[in-house]
Symmetry: C2
Subunit: 174 residues, 2 copies
């Protein structure tokens, strides 16, 4: 556990009672914290040698955009349903109650591109796994998953067992 | 009009019939386009000498994050209602039919901080104007507004007449 964890604000009972929310806004608004997180992610992402990054709406955009700029590669958004304006593909994933979808433009990934998926946090892994499926349906190869935080008490390990996952901070209990 | 406009995909009838959507995903996914847009915004934002950037959810996050990293300053999100977990303030703005709100954390801006607001596009200016009000309610000074695209056929000029607005590409008719 790096001292990066000190920049994360833990908010109890958000978005609902019994859930602890790990708030990255306190990290982003401190240039030292933001830069330290980006430096750590950049090191991992460069080691994956990607052609393009896919960032997951909306907090993933924050880290994905700065990393794409640092590596001088393109950035593709994976978005909530109904947000992308052009031809797109959609992937369902399971929530605690019910299901949701994540979408990508059909022309966002070229065949055989090496892709790293970027988000702020891995919890259940459902959105990340669905995003990986979208990338593979478009012919890309997911060569890494990079986040700031990993919640290691939640069961994403099985869902993402085929992928290399890297995070900078882990929290191990609710 | 710079050649940057060639990276923007124009999608007719999105999100509803009669509206033309200016899609920045085609710019983001091309490293040359993304970098050219960031270079142009960086030049303007540096000239404002800000202490912090405020990025508007969610496409504003993409440009705001990379710019905050380039300037080594903090990034504060202005978000849709219900997304921020801690103590926050809210500002209403008018839509074509009805109203909506934008929110910021109460501790996001310190008194007398110089702030530049970042988004992808200015259309009606309602969200941007509400974000400027939030910044001012927290004691900050809005020293500039930076976007990729300005739709100069829409009436944001009056709503934002007290602010300095900079965009890289203008579109002048629907």
């Amino acid at each position: 556990m790096s001292n990066l964890a000190a920049y994360i604000r833990e908010v109890p009972d958000f978005p609902k009672p019994g859930v602890r929310f790990y708030d990255i806004t306190t990290l982003m608004q401190d240039p030292k914290g933001f830069r330290q997180a980006l430096d750590g992610m950049e090191k991992y992402v460069r080691s994956c040698n990607p052609d393009v990054l896919v960032a997951i709406e909306s907090r993933g955009f924050i880290f994905g955009a700065a990393l794409a700029d640092r590596l001088n590669i393109g950035l593709v958004p994976a978005r909530k349903i109904g947000k992308l304006p052009s031809d797109k593909i959609s992937q369902e994933y399971t929530l605690e109650y019910g299901t949701d979808h994540v979408e990508m433009h059909s022309d966002a990934i070229s065949s055989d591109q090496r892709v790293v998926v970027v988000d702020d946090l891995i919890a259940t892994g459902g959105t990340v796994a669905a995003t990986c499926k979208l990338i593979e349906r478009l012919g890309g190869e997911v060569v890494g998953i990079s986040t700031v935080i990993g919640l290691i008490f939640l069961p994403w390990q099985d869902l993402l067992k085929d992928y290399d996952v890297n995070f900078l901070i882990s929290f191990d209990s609710e």
